[in-house]
């Protein structure tokens, strides 16, 4: 595991006067699941298309599996993708579509088609043609096609679009499995932040063509963690009461003297009562922390920092 598989350096993409990507530099490391978050028109799909060679950057450089320039196109065979809508021939069945892509990519062995259909839950579609598939079924088939070449990097643009709740869970579990069991690196874009939160290990926040933040799951959890902020002049007494009366050591004394209590956030009244009964005089007592959405909004400059509740 480990090692850089994709690196973009200062990619800019312009359509006429409109700058869709502006000096975008990101690095994707092997074996991780990257969630690409951005509002509509933020540049998510455009960025993915630059990596896949479906669009040529106006300026900047892309390195894929350590190769640059003309050598990149060979390396792209190590990438599987589903961009916007899957490449399907509508008058073919799911298996025939997979067979078509298998021929196109020169992959031997027909059993892979059945295995992939089983993996994405389309093994029972039989002779049903793709034109009669629901949007969710088409998306699943698109994911199967993306996995056909057993790629090292899978790029999925809004893969859960149109999926029912069960389908969403299945695709999420599949993405996790691909990463954990097969060591695949996944770059997945979605508007569904809670959904991304359940599978991504890293987040790239993009807005108006610029990368606003690259943050790991651990850092995001830290930022979005809810806690009780207690301000007092008697920190030692507060710590003693928290440990002895409330039975928690899950708190942190901050440099400014305030205490952040990460437990008992749902029992604010009880905490306040116990502190009062034990003579701890507080100057401030409030629930702090971000929701995912609020954090995202603040990251793209559309909101404030911590929100007191």
């Amino acid at each position: 595991m480990g090692g850089t598989i994709v690196k973009t350096e200062g990619i800019t993409k312009k359509y006429g006067r409109a700058t869709v990507l502006n000096n975008v530099s990101i690095t994707l490391e092997r074996g991780r699941i990257y969630g690409l978050i951005g509002v509509n028109g933020a540049g998510k799909t455009t960025l993915m298309r630059q990596i896949l060679g479906l669009s040529v950057p106006t300026s900047g450089d892309i390195e894929i599996f350590g190769k640059r320039g003309g050598q990149i196109s060979d390396e792209r065979s190590r990438i599987g993708c589903l961009i916007e809508a899957p490449g399907l021939v509508l008058n073919l069945t799911a298996k025939q579509n997979l067979h078509l892509h298998r021929i196109m990519h020169g992959i031997a062995g027909g059993d892979i088609e059945d295995r992939l259909l089983e993996t994405v839950g389309l093994s029972n579609t039989g002779k049903k043609k793709a034109k009669n598939f629901s949007l969710g079924m088409k998306q699943r088939l698109g994911v199967a096609i993306a996995l056909l070449t057993n790629p090292e990097l899978v790029i999925l643009d809004e893969p859960i679009n149109g999926l029912d709740p069960i389908g969403v869970v299945e695709i999420r579990e599949l993405i996790k499995r691909l990463c954990h069991e097969h060591g695949m690196t996944i770059l997945i874009s979605s508007h569904n932040l809670p959904e991304l939160y359940q599978c991504a290990t890293d987040y790239i926040i993009i807005d108006r063509g610029e990368i606003k933040q690259e943050i790991s799951l651990e850092e995001l959890e830290e930022k979005c963690r809810h806690y009780l902020l207690i301000e007092t002049d008697d920190r030692e007494k507060l710590a003693t009461v928290l440990e002895s009366e409330l039975g928690t050591t899950n708190f942190k004394v901050m440099p400014d003297g305030s205490v952040q209590l990460y437990d008992l956030t749902d029992e604010r009244d009880r905490v306040a009562d116990v502190l009062f009964e034990n003579g701890v005089r507080t100057k401030g007592f409030s629930l702090m922390g971000e929701t995912l959405e609020n954090y995202f909004i603040s990251a793209i400059g559309g909101g404030s920092g911590n929100n007191a509740k």
Partner: protein, 266 residues
Amino acid sequence: MINLIKADFYKINRSAIYRVLFIISAICAITTTVVSHNVYSGNMDTATAASTAMLTDVVILNLINCVLAGQLICGDFENKLIQSALTGTSGRFTLVCSKMAVYTALIGIMSVPYALCAIICPALCSGYCAPFSASAYLKMLFDSTTADFSMNMILKYTAISVIMVLVYAAQSGFVFLMGFIIKNKPLIVTALGFVINTIIGMGSSLIAGNSAADKVLEWTPYGLDIYSMGNDTGTFTLIKVSLICIVFIALFTGLSYAAFRNAEIK
């Protein structure tokens, strides 16, 4: 490239539109042959036969070739198969070359009914005339009336039929190019291609006779002499026409790549 060609034929084999186009070509080829024989036999007058002029290869194959370009190129942009091919192992040049190979092969397949009629029908039933100019296959039928049916003639007609595939591929080269420029609008490519092809055909007829224009057209796949290839055509002419067509096919493949090389693919 072989994988892309195989994939295209896998898809084509399962698509109804290509079968329908082949059936149309077959019906038109048989009708044209029957009309040619009946005009020669005196069972049909030339005025009645004129109403079937639209069924000759020069019209029908040009139309079919435009539909083929729309389906083969724009259809794949629409269903995103080109995107899949590019994100796989194929570069853009490989993709354009494979499409031209499949396109030429499909033109060949669609020409088979006309070629078979021209080669086989003289053996089954003699006496044909060429009521319409600018049809290589009718010219072959007409020539068979005045020549003895022989193995040499079969070989020559087969060679001319193969060369006519190159002629049609070269003539449709700009429709192929338009496919890569317009991308996912097959109907526009088909309609525009047919209109432009027809205008070029009419234009080359109009300027025929002008010695300077004839000299220029002689070196293109649009020269009227191409349609008069028959039993009396020499080997040099056959080779010359073939080479001109191959150069034009290569030229349009190159132009298509140039147009597609840095193109955005939605």
